[in-house]
């Protein structure tokens, strides 16, 4: 993985010192709340329902075990002994004290981590595909380019006070596991006719209250032009994005307002006219960064069926919680943070430390956070799988539900977030209880359930096969359900099924939705495929045909 040199280390150290001083001035009354707000936000610090919330960046989801242990230490020392992994591969702490935050940032800097630009109207943590570097279908590892973008965007003087937040995702696979088309900028790796690496650049995607799928800004952007083209795009956005209305300030609104052709014209012109002062990306710098992502020293092994002749429980886990690896003899292993009865994405300090030990023993000392709020041990020998399963089971991290209905994404919701309209955690719990029968769950197959507690859509409900959105109706928590959203190579926004339902009716409603699927599915057809074939109507009819169960 990437290791800081003296430049990277100096940047985070300088930043910690700066924020320590800003916090001191705020606590001494020298900075007003209004003045402190954009400063703390740019260091990942929100003021939430109960306490500040600190969002720590995990760039493109990659963690060393040393870093994971440090996160465990921080969660235990400064919080309540657990953290929450988010869909943008950050770790959120829900209970730190403001006065301790500079110390927390210093601990992070000591292991080459930070919370810089994890919130605020600036370029956020750059994300990638969790299967980066190991996916059989991958064109190239996207992480070196994520790291380059991370550095370019960190404390970038021109783009630190944008109209609104700005999210970039990079994917190296046709199956877009980074959901890049619902980002402000999505970069899909491509090769040109000469085999040169570059990107198809999408712009203006996003969820939130106005969900929009990104459009192609540039069919092929050569790698050497990556930073100069990002600069041109961000400059057009910084100058012309709306600042009068927070809900209309994302780049997607600008692109929609002027149209993609006009927006492209403006970016191209800006790019042409800034060629003699734009930031360059040299081959030497690319090579320097790429070298950190060379494959680990794999053993020369053959693939074999590690699940054969083992008990059914292991076979089930193997099937659901491990994935094919491009190197023979290895598999990628999900560490499930979706145990029934637990909050999706939450992990205790003890679990973090134990997973760090495990990764040291079997996966080259690296751990990945995934877009779906799980962790991944990317490089496990097939012969180690049985041992790994036993250990994960002991830790409560082997729930064999990855890719199933209960591997759902959920934001923290009303229990923690001051923006939320409705709870998500109790709904998640009810759904887990409703679908606790594993055989039934497996019969339903791949279903992505995504839930947000408000229109800001942190839980990506628009792109869930089944999306759940919490809404406030006269002080009561209600839930709007959508069907047919997806990412992963075919980005679509879900359709609203009908009137929203009460909290207690969410799980029974989902039950009815899957009943329709079971009735109509054809051989081997996944939920989303059935939905695309038969459309919304049969689902709507069945769901609203009879009153929901009490």
């Amino acid at each position: 993985m990437y290791r800081y040199d003296e430049i990277d280390q100096a940047v985070v150290d300088q930043r910690v010192a700066e924020f320590r001083d800003q916090t001191r001035r705020y606590l001494a009354g020298e900075l007003s709340e209004e003045e402190f707000r954009p400063l703390r936000l740019r260091n990942g610090l929100y003021i939430q329902r109960h306490a500040p919330m600190l969002r720590i960046a995990i760039p493109y989801g990659l963690l060393s075990t040393r870093q994971l242990r440090k996160l465990a230490f921080i969660a235990r020392t400064y919080d309540k002994g657990y953290g929450h992994f988010t869909t943008r591969t950050n770790l959120q702490l829900n209970w730190p004290e403001l006065k301790n935050v500079p110390d927390i940032l210093e601990h992070l800097a000591s292991v080459q981590m930070h919370a810089i630009q994890t919130s605020g109207n600036c370029v956020r943590n750059v994300t990638a595909d969790h299967m980066a570097g190991i996916a059989p279908d991958e064109l190239d590892d996207p992480r070196p380019y994520c790291e380059i973008i991370r550095q370019w965007s960190t404390l970038n003087p021109e783009f630190t006070y944008l109209p609104r937040k700005f999210k970039i995702a990079v994917t190296g696979s046709p199956e877009d596991r980074a959901a890049s088309e619902v980002h402000d900028i999505g970069l899909h790796m491509k090769r040109d006719a000469n085999g040169q690496i570059g990107f198809t650049m999408y712009v203006g995607g996003g969820l939130g209250r106005t969900p929009i799928i990104g459009q192609v800004l540039r069919e092929f952007l050569p790698l050497k032009d990556l930073l100069s083209y990002l600069e041109a795009t961000l400059r057009v956005y910084n100058r012309y994005g709306r600042r009068d209305n927070i809900h209309k300030a994302r780049i997607k609104i600008l692109v929609k307002a002027v149209g993609i052709e006009e927006f492209r014209k403006q970016v191209e012109q800006e790019w042409e006219e800034s060629k003699d002062f734009a930031t360059q990306l040299d081959e030497a710098e690319v090579e320097r960064v790429r070298a950190f992502f060379n494959p680990p020293p794999y053993e020369k092994l053959e693939d074999y069926d590690a699940a054969a002749d083992k008990e059914l429980e292991f076979q089930t886990w193997y099937r659901y919680n491990t994935r094919k690896h491009k190197v023979p003899g290895y598999r990628a292993v999900f560490v499930s943070l979706k145990k029934h009865g637990a909050v999706p994405g939450d992990m205790t300090s003890e679990q973090m430390e134990a997973v760090a030990d495990l990764a040291d023993a079997v996966s080259f000392g690296l751990v990945r956070a995934t877009h779906n709020q799980n962790l991944l041990l990317a490089d496990v020998k097939q012969s180690d799988l049985y041992k790994v399963w036993g250990e994960l089971k002991r830790l409560g991290l082997a729930m064999p539900n990855i890719g199933t209905l209960t591997d759902m994404i959920a934001c923290p919701g009303l229990d923690f977030c001051s923006l939320a309209n409705a709870g998500t955690l109790n709904v998640a719990d009810a759904i887990q209880k409703q679908f606790d029968d594993l055989d039934y769950l497996y019969d339903l197959g791949d279903i992505e359930v995504k839930m947000s507690g408000c229109m800001n859509a942190c839980g990506h409900h628009h792109v869930g096969h089944i999306g759940i959105l919490g809404v406030d109706k006269h002080g009561e928590e209600w839930y709007q359900i959508t069907l047919g959203g997806s990412v992963n190579g075919f980005t679509a926004l879900g359709d609203v099924i009908g009137p929203s339902v009460k909290q207690n009716d969410v799980a029974p409603t989902i039950q009815r939705i899957v009943e329709v699927y079971r009735k109509h599915r054809e051989d081997g057809e996944r939920f989303i495929e059935t939905y695309r074939r038969i459309g919304l109507k049969p689902f709507k009819e069945h769901v609203y045909a009879t009153p929901a169960a009490a």
């Binding site: 300088q14 400063l39 021109e158 006070y161 600042r243 734009a278």
Partner: protein, 162 residues
């Protein structure tokens, strides 16, 4: 109001256009909108001329006037206003403006480093700011990722410009 220029607190010799036009030789700052109402009158003045840009004003439109200007003032209307950073960058990098580029309005020590890096070299500090602290922030960062206007403290940059 203290003006921070070249790391020193100085008296501001400029007058901003009010109801009445000051004598011909007084250095005068004219809001760009006012300037456009009667450009020839301002161009004909003997004294130095400065233009004040609102965040939405286009640097491109000002470009033809730049050779006769000694000062461009960029307005930062609140803590989240960021268009001035791109205006400054374009003034310096694209139009090679060599006069003073001054930040005015919401100008706090916490933004000074960023402002200096896009080429702003004078700061009309917000009244609550402590000038000594503000000056010190210009030396806080020794290393930067992206290329920017030179600062004495910045010894290394990761990336370079064309």
């Amino acid at each position: 109001m203290p003006l921070l220029r070249q790391r020193k607190l100085v008296e501001d010799e400029w007058t901003t256009l009010g109801e009445e036009l000051p004598p011909d030789d007084v250095p005068l700052i004219v809001p760009f909108a006012k300037f456009k109402e009667n450009p020839d009158a301002f161009r004909a003045r003997k004294g130095k001329l400065g233009i004040r840009l609102a965040p939405a004003d286009k640097v491109e439109e000002l470009a033809p006037e730049l050779p006769r200007l000694s000062l461009v003032v960029l307005e930062f209307t609140g803590p989240g206003e960021g268009r001035g950073y791109s205006q400054a960058k374009l003034l310096r990098a694209r139009y090679k403006f060599a006069g003073e580029v001054r930040a005015a309005g919401h100008v706090k020590q916490d933004q000074l480093y960023l402002m200096a890096r896009v080429g702003i070299d004078a700061f009309d500090l917000s009244p609550t700011e402590k000038p000594e602290e503000a000056i010190a922030t210009l030396d806080r960062f020794k290393i930067a990722y992206t290329p920017g206007a030179p600062l004495p403290s910045i010894t290394r940059e990761r990336f370079h410009a064309s």
